[in-house]
Amino acid sequence: MDNKKPINLTLKVWRQQNTNSDGKFVEYDAKTVSPDASFLEMLDAVNEEIIKKGDEPISFDHDCREGICGSCGFMINGNAHGPQKGTTICQLHMRNFKDGEKLVLEPWSAKAFPIMKDLMVDRTAFDRIISSGGFISTNTGSAAEANSTPIPKPDADEAFLSAACIGCGACVASCKNASAALFTSAKISHLAHLPQGAVEKDKRALDMVAQMDAEGFGACTSTGACSAACPKEISLINIAKMNREYLRASITKKQEMAGGGEG
């Protein structure tokens, strides 16, 4: 079968020793790549060759390789997670590329995501946004009987769609402003749709937006690059939801008062 024929590629990969050093592009050949291999498996093979030559292999983040953990991700020819929609790099297969193609691999670019090494960036800024409010404060104990908390189907659907965000950072990487609006809004929106999360939705919106800004991410200019690049296809409606949650919370902000009891 023709489409099973191995392909040869040229990779132009960003190599950088650490955060403070200067980086540069280095070219590598990826020879006889199976179209059934994933992009990361192809890189593994390239790394084997690099190691055989006694050089340092290309560093890249990866973990589950099932498209659900959010660890992997870098730019392939300017596309976050490569050319295919709704896919993480680990789930991107080499059949998407043509024999003889030249691919430019670059790490996510954002001030808030400093490069650690080669294609790896530090995404702890996302963790700090989550720590600022992406949770519910009640101790839920063991799982309750599902039907004891009725949630309308459309709300549950929206919450599930927002919760699909794996925090990979492709939204920030693809945005010309390195805005984290899609990531932050997915978390705000996910919890605000559910009764367990709705109690703290005002505080959450205020704190998470403040943390997002403090981390040095840019502002949203609605280009839609984030949603197009998102491996989980998180919708821009989350950003609209975040904006109105944030506006409402800013106007109706309540304060803790003396005499209110210990709670």
């Binding site: 020819n77 596309n79 295919q84 929609k85 670059e106 502002a219 409606i237």
Partner: protein, 220 residues
Amino acid sequence: MLDFLKSTVGRKYIMGLTGLVWMGFVLAHMAGNMLILFSTDAFNAYGHAIVSNKPLLFVAETVLLLTLIVHVTTAISLTIENRAAKKSRYAVQPTGVKSTSWASRNMGFQGSLILCFIILHLITFKYGAHYETTVNGVVMRDLAKLMFEVFTQPGYVIWYVVCLILLMFHLSHGVHSVFQSFGFLERKMQAGLKTFAWIYALIVVGGFLSQPLYVFFIHQ
């Protein structure tokens, strides 16, 4: 509330709100000026009616000037921060399903040129040559004569066409984006909103374009 206005989200509301004022203005400005295609007297009388209503004119001009200043300064502050947030551009730009529209990526460039246009446009017309005419016994400014004078010069017509096309792109993104910024965007609205924004942009710019082109090709 100060935190809100300083935040990236709050400033999107400011951009949207001030943009909304100008979206309304360009539509009204275009619609009123369409009179030039039908009657110079009606066009002059319409202009005279606007400048005669001093309190209304003052309010309208103040609101337009203030919203423009806020829109531009907020855009500058956001652009500076956004550029700082993106440390470096990629060596390769995205193509295919993950690329974005030219209009959405170049709002700053379009806006800068539109701002230059607004300033020059005011110098050309509002503060331009003052001719007089009499319509129904009332002496008034003959703006139609000035308009015919300006739009018979090819250089002016080309400049107007270029700036109006930029305005079309600016509106096509802005009209759509304001819904997202304000938080009105819902899943079922997404496709329709983009079409609505383009129709709005085409109506405004199509109307505006017809005026200098009419003068240049038909009127003379």
